[in-house]
């Protein structure tokens, strides 16, 4: 029995205790159970990390759930460097956000339920990252999806919340369908669902093609793309990104934990985990890189004009996730993981700060009604400022190192689309800096634009909330320091650490080029911050003027490129229209009635007939038995 087993099962225990005894016994003390459990997980994670650092990699089955012939489902764990990174991210964020929730959710009537779900989520996420086979991965994958659904719709009496929950669930279904098919394809190809044999044999099938829907398809490309479907859904990439901004209807700690730091990065983790498969298919990698690049640009431009504080951060999340896929797509899995790791800290921090602001503003989300909060809530201000500096890529902060590594490897790598995605990435870096600081300036600087009651109510958040902010802030600043490039005299320890699992990314470029790329990204970052300062601190009339001048563009951005409307137009409305006009109007009682109502009705009718046969008469029963004997004998002897 290994102590790493405590990592997932402590949160599971917390979930069970809370759900069973929460309502009656624990009530307002429910958080203790969950926090202790997650903190315990964190401690064990640190121990495990030390083990992994000393070179100990675990890959073992703990329990065989189903064994039937070749088919085997078991609970097994793979603790390698990649898992260790994810464990650190998940348990750290989860522990801090559990603590933060104590302050944020105080007095909520479903207090125990909230913590139960949060712990269950942590458990599922840990099962996902610790799995050593695809089925367990799938279990965790669906589990986090389910928890996300519960938590988005946590305020289920609010209609937008329950709608958002359903939207997230349905949109993810599209992606998961592909993911499920991918796992089936893997089982059919390799005869197993375990990582180790699959990845070691993947090369054998490197040039194999299969006939798929009448076309000869490269097998590894097919599998990789099917798996990527799952990633697109879970990590909210185009075109399945629409659920994430709506998911902000959930409580803010949920947004921070699930929809920024952990669950949404599962897609990136999947690509990294399956890197041996992805690496065998140039096409698949190219699609991953382009999807990431385009998504990140697209989401960043939308982020420019939004006014809802949480939605801006949500679009920023989508954009940064795109960055990670961009990195994976050019073969720089380690850089993608590095960004995932730093991003978890500063993005969770951003959300928690937003939550703190909301707390002070009594739930207000509109940027235009804030301003000048700096003096009322200094801790929130400073931590959020650091987070923004980090995401903007200001040198020295965590985000700078990870972003720079991605851009450099995209530029210098061998990917055919490398230069293109580098260009996009640089533009996005500029946009990111701009909208992040627009948020800061509009929120904390200038004059307060809200109502009098709101102004009167402004206050710093309680300790339970600010302490996690400060801790996360340290991460947002310092977490990048373990990956300082050789160029700046660092050791690139992060890359070295992950190399055994993900391989070493190749870079073909001179030092001069590397300096150049870095300089460009720094300039992009600073100019973004500067422009934001100009627009929102100095000449505050410019944005309004611009919005009027480029009204059309502004409108497109404000309406998020009309994607929701597009989906509504091409999917939802035609479905409803067809339902209304063709199905109900034309074929009404004839076909649909017959199929939709007919089958249950037919079964019900049959059931009633069977009831009539059962008359209660003894002779009838005996006669049916005798008839049965007769028929069996006749059939058996006459055939």
């Amino acid at each position: 029995m290994n102590n790493y087993l405590l990592i997932p099962f402590l949160p599971l225990a917390a979930f069970l205790i809370n759900i069973l005894f929460g309502r009656k016994y624990l009530k307002d003390n429910a958080h203790w159970v969950s926090i202790l459990a997650v903190a315990g997980s964190w401690v064990v994670t640190v121990i495990t990390l030390l083990d992994v650092l000393s070179g100990k990699v675990v890959n073992e089955d703990i329990y065989s759930w189903i064994v039937s012939g070749e088919f085997k489902v078991s609970v097994g764990f793979l603790i390698d460097q990649l898992t260790a990174v994810m464990l650190v991210v998940v348990t750290t964020c989860s522990a801090l956000i559990h603590i933060y929730s104590v302050g944020y959710m105080q007095g909520d009537k479903g207090y125990y339920r909230f913590f139960a779900y949060l712990s269950l989520f942590t458990f599922c996420m840990l099962m996902l990252v610790m799995a050593n086979n695809f089925l367990q991965l799938y279990f965790g994958w669906e589990g986090v999806g389910l928890c996300s659904y519960f938590l988005i719709g946590y305020y289920f009496d609010k209609k937008p919340a329950s709608d958002a929950g359903k939207k997230a669930f349905i949109v993810n279904r599209f992606g998961d369908f592909g993911f499920g098919l991918g796992i089936i394809m893997i089982f059919l190809t390799f005869g197993t669902v375990y990582y180790e044999p699959v990845f070691s044999q993947a090369k054998v099938f490197a040039v194999q093609t299969i006939n798929f829907l009448g076309y000869d398809v490269h097998l590894m490309t097919l599998i990789a793309l099917l798996l990527f479907c799952g990633s697109i859904g879970k990590s909210a990439q185009m075109p399945l990104h629409v659920w994430l901004p709506d998911a902000m209807e959930g409580p803010t700690p949920v947004s921070a934990l699930i929809h920024a730091a952990t669950m949404v990065t599962a897609g990136v983790f999947l690509v990294a985990r399956c890197s041996p498969i992805f690496s065998l298919s140039e096409t698949a990698l190219m699609i991953v890189a382009l999807t990431g690049a385009i998504t990140s640009l697209f989401a960043a431009t939308i982020g420019l004009v939004q006014n809802d504080i949480k939605r801006i951060i949500a679009y920023s999340t989508i954009s940064q996730l795109g960055y990670m896929f961009l990195a994976a797509g050019v073969g720089a899995y380690t850089a993608g993981m590095f960004h995932l790791y730093t991003h978890a800290f500063f993005k969770a921090l951003l959300f928690l700060c937003a939550g703190s602001v909301m707390h002070a503003m009594s739930g207000e989300l509109d940027l235009q009604k804030m301003g000048g909060l700096k003096k009322y809530m200094p801790i929130t201000y400073w931590t959020m400022l650091f987070a923004s500096l980090s995401i903007a890529g200001v040198p020295g902060f965590a985000g700078f190192f990870s972003k720079d590594e991605i851009l450099w490897l995209a530029y210098s790598g061998q990917s055919p689309v490398g230069k293109f995605v580098w260009a996009i990435g640089t533009v996005v870096a500029f946009l990111t800096a701009f909208y992040s600081f627009r948020l800061i300036f509009l929120t904390f600087h200038g004059k307060f634009r809200g109502t009098y009651e709101q102004e009167h109510h402004l206050h710093e958040s309680p300790k339970a909330m600010t302490i996690p902010l400060i801790i996360l802030c340290i991460g947002a600043v310092a977490s990048g320091w373990i990956g300082i490039p050789h160029l700046l005299g660092g050791g690139e320890h992060f890359t070295e650490f992950l190399t055994p699992v993900l391989g070493h990314p190749e870079a073909h470029g001179t030092h001069a080029e590397e300096w150049l790329v870095m300089a460009i990204s720094i300039i992009a970052g600073f100019s973004g911050v500067g422009l934001a300062a100009l627009f929102y601190l100095v000449k505050t009339d410019i944005p309004v003027m611009l919005a009027q001048k480029f009204n059309a563009t502004y409108k497109v951005l404000w309406n998020k490129y009309y994607v929701d409307e597009l989906y509504s137009f091409i999917i939802v409305r035609p479905t409803i229209w067809t339902a209304k006009n063709i199905l109900i109007g034309v074929t009404d009682a004839k076909i649909i009635e017959a199929i939709v109502n007919g089958i249950p009705k037919g079964i019900g009718e049959f059931s009633r007939i069977l009831r009539k046969v059962q008359t209660g008469l003894l002779q009838r029963y005996a006669a049916i038995m005798a008839l049965g004997v007769l028929i069996i004998m006749a059939v058996m002897l006459l055939r």
Partner: protein, 100 residues
């Protein structure tokens, strides 16, 4: 020497007469007597087999069947008494309290 098949046919005929009685009579007691006919039919064939196979097993089974028939009769008639106390009938087709 009478062929074995004759006995078997006799047994089959008696068995089926018993089945007929069981399927068609209304009176539970007669139905029960039909069951006894079934058992006797089986006994005829068992004893016949025993004779022709020169093996005692068939007769032993026949003895056991008679024993069990006696036990069955005791229980069956007790059930009929219990039923008769609650419901003043011995007609099986008047007992359909439960159906469907």
């Amino acid at each position: 020497m009478v062929p074995l098949n004759w006995y078997l046919m006799l047994s089959a005929v008696v068995f089926m007469i018993g089945v007929f009685g069981f399927l068609t009579r209304r009176n539970i007691i007669i139905m029960f007597m039909s069951i006894e006919l079934l058992l006797n039919a089986v006994n005829i064939s068992l004893v016949a087999f025993s004779h022709y196979l020169q093996d005692m097993r068939g007769q032993i089974l026949a003895v056991f069947i008679i024993t069990v028939a006696a036990a069955e009769a005791a229980i069956g008639l007790a059930i009929i008494i219990a039923l008769f106390r609650n419901k003043d009938t011995v007609h099986a087709d008047e007992m359909s309290e439960m159906k469907g």
